[in-house]
Symmetry: C2
Subunit: 481 residues, 2 copies
């Protein structure tokens, strides 16, 4: 089933060079969202593929810039952007132009097992994409396929490092190698990972053991018995709740120190701390620079690895390329994990964490060169068009506009955000869901997170004019509440 | 660094339509393997990316069909094929032609979050690729990004199903939803997975708890305490060791039944059995159809899920599209996992395993439409050119030729295989490694597995003439041993 006939003027994006000339000027709704054609496609798909989570079907060939077109020819301004994963919106002309890149088709159809047999230009690809935007102080990177596999391998790197430290920096002993095949000490250690209430780090079994955002992720799945500490829960506006919020930081840090102590006492040393700069799926909860600085200090003092999971925050939306740049750390995090807007999964690691033995950090594909070719161009566009700075400015416009709406509507709670990474709460989960429904039906494709939050995740090509349309629609929706 | 100047005649594959006309006619070695340019690239790469497992750098733009060209312009006949992951060899003309497919560039640069917002043609893509080659009796599929994430989600599906059965088929209770956030019973169950000695199912923490092929995968990484049973270890040739091999099956099956009993007694019910039709990374160990039929029966009687991991065997190399077709099962496996030659990761599942609640089997990308576009064409070529039948015939030629060499050289042990999925052992790990080195230096790119096995993993475009060159080189190498 294809639905091409309903769009009279097919967006001629293949021959254009700017977004401005081919992006719709405003949303246009022909049906409710999702519409009848999306629902028919969902029913058809259910016979051959799981689709309990399917919201709507999109016509990607007809989507452009900040606007997505669905199966029913509705044009929505998209501030959710494939769960925050499209950095330049839909069909950006410079990315579409990659069809001419001679490396593309070979990378796709002659896909390397990158861990063993990289392309001759693999180091160049890495340099011009990932290394060119590496967090300050980190100059090495490992590609993976997605955020979850990147987090899994970040944990493995931490376990390998922690075990090696316990051996005085030496490789595994013959006894380690024998006992690990029986999953016994000392080869299979009982080290643990410290994560946080409200965290989301992925949905593999190990990452679910760190994830504590929603029961639907965790129920019925066995887990590692790993420690969990509270993540600060601030009151807003920040400048009116300084003491309360400071106390939040202190209480959380005290709990973390205690977890290190009590787990070590049980022989379950914490090998790494993994944390998001902003808890995203869990409800857009922020931590203060002071909190993160103190957390890094405690982690380091305990000989553990400090892993910052920037899967959702990385790539510019918070107004700096990496959100943790805003903390003012004296030394870089040990590991910074990325995916989503970075097109490929992977992680930067401090040199002392490099794994020296082969086949310990390994799998068949270890990433995908086609994604690096896209990322090279994404990074070029972000730099040339100063899109990180733009996210900071436009995010400010969005937040100021929401403050204005909030001043007239007391159902908007805890307005918060950096860059375009803005969120607010509604009084109940039901009201939040109702808000999303009304906004989508008004042509604004927006997402939720946590129990009752609305989160904004526009692309980096989101401009002032898009923020103004966003605010108009939200104002109208809130007027009904 | 690029090394294009050293190839005098650049293979003009972009304008050709058959492999025969542009594939080299024989290997051609200019240096040892890996050569100095590969080593220089490795040294350069080490500054910015882990590369302890890097063997050599390949010039993929100059590789064609069964032949790979490395950074030093060596042309090797490749019977390893990116760890068994390229079904049609390098730069197959019909795949290169996909550059003209209008779906390709949009799928790449406007990548959907498939679990929530699929393309309008997603069901069509699935039908013409994965469903058109679905194992008999299975008509539903879930895409993922790689074999490991497919296996992780197969386990999650099994845990969800097993828990639901214990609740009489009902969804989680409020108590389940509350307790799982504290990782306590009943919401976080203590169910386990049964896997096998010598198994390989991936390198995430959960899959490593099922994997028992080599210490290097497992050492220093914490694990789930899950049961392990022996996998048959046959003597070859099979027809001269019938009684011994039958006893192997019986002993393994008795152990499996006992594991079900003892784990249930401890409240650690086995929710699923996961097994490879041929243990690949572990050393190319085969099981008999009788063993697998009995294993399915025991699994079913215990209410557990029977997961067949065809990540390495799927897609035709064993002479049937799915290796488990050769067992003569009365009912299909509950889950069949794939990746590698299938271009995308994923798994087929029996209808009763469909997860009805949203966001339980979910992640941001849930697969990649660009890979489905490639797979559509791969499947078309495999069917049109009867490549599965060819694998059976050519594999027979390869095995017969190896039998002949074996008859003159007693260092070739346990020759075994189905289709082109052929292997033999050498007397020691050192001799095996020496064999690989000599073969590569003679222009045959071959891989090992287990302690001392040589495994053949050519593409499906591997023909009689390639088998003959393979045998020539092996004969010469073995003459030196």
């Amino acid at each position: 089933m294809r639905f091409s006939s309903c769009v009279n003027r097919i967006i001629p994006w293949r021959s254009l060079t700017t977004i401005a000339t081919c992006e719709p000027s405003k949303p246009e709704m022909k049906t409710t969202f999702p519409g009848p054609k999306s629902m028919a496609l969902k029913s058809e798909m259910s016979k051959i593929h799981q689709n309990a989570s399917t919201r709507a079907f999109f016509d990607y060939e007809r989507s452009f810039g900040n606007y997505v077109v669905d199966a029913d020819c509705n044009k929505l301004l998209d501030v959710y952007m494939q769960i925050s994963s499209l950095p330049l919106g839909y069909n950006h002309p410079e990315l579409v132009d990659l069809i001419k890149d001679p490396r593309l088709i070979t990378s796709l159809v002659s896909r390397p097992a990158l861990g063993s047999f990289p392309r001759t230009d693999f180091a160049d690809m890495i340099k011009s994409s990932l290394i060119s935007v590496a967090p300050k102080g980190l100059s090495e990177v490992q590609t993976m396929l997605c955020g979850t596999s990147a987090n899994e391998n970040a944990l493995k790197t931490a376990f390998i490092y922690y075990s090696a430290q316990k051996r005085g920096g030496k490789p595994p002993t013959p006894e380690d190698l024998t006992s690990c095949m029986k999953q016994e000490l000392p080869g299979t250690p009982k080290w643990t990972i410290l994560a946080f209430n409200g965290a989301f780090h992925g949905r593999s079994l190990a990452m679910l053991s760190c994830t504590r955002s929603k029961p639907v992720h965790k129920v019925d799945i066995p887990a590692h018995d790993w420690p969990i500490s509270p993540y600060p829960r601030y009151k807003y506006p920040l400048d009116q709740n300084v003491q309360y919020n400071k106390r939040q930081d202190e209480d959380c840090l005290a709990n973390i120190a205690e977890q290190f102590r009590s787990r070590r006492e049980k022989g379950q040393d914490i090998a790494a701390v993994i944390i998001e700069p902003i808890q995203s799926e869990g409800g857009d909860h922020h931590g203060s620079p002071e909190f993160f600085k103190a957390l890094q200090k405690i982690t380091k003092e305990n000989g553990a690895v400090f892993i910052v999971d920037e899967v959702q925050t990385g790539g510019g939306p918070t107004g700096t390329f990496w959100c943790h740049e805003q903390w003012g750390l004296q030394t870089p995090p040990d590991i910074v994990v990325f995916s989503k807007k970075m097109i490929t999964g992977g992680y930067y690691y401090a040199s002392h964490l490099k794994v020296n033995e082969g086949y310990r950090i390994f799998n068949t594909w270890m990433g995908d060169p086609t994604k690096l070719i896209v990322l090279e161009k994404v990074v070029k566009v972000i730099k040339e068009q100063r899109l990180v700075e733009q996210a900071k400015i436009v995010g400010g416009i969005l937040k100021t506009g929401l403050e204005d709406i909030k001043s007239r509507n007391d159902k908007i709670l805890n307005l918060r955000g950096v860059g375009t990474y803005v969120a607010f709460d509604l009084p109940t989960p039901e009201l939040r869901d109702k808000f999303i429904e009304e906004a989508c039906n008004s042509g604004l494709h927006v997402g939720g997170c946590g129990d009752s939050a609305i989160r904004f995740r526009p692309a980096l090509v989101y401009e002032k004019k898009h923020a103004e349309i966003t605010l108009d629609i939200i104002n109208n929706v809130m007027n009904k509440f």
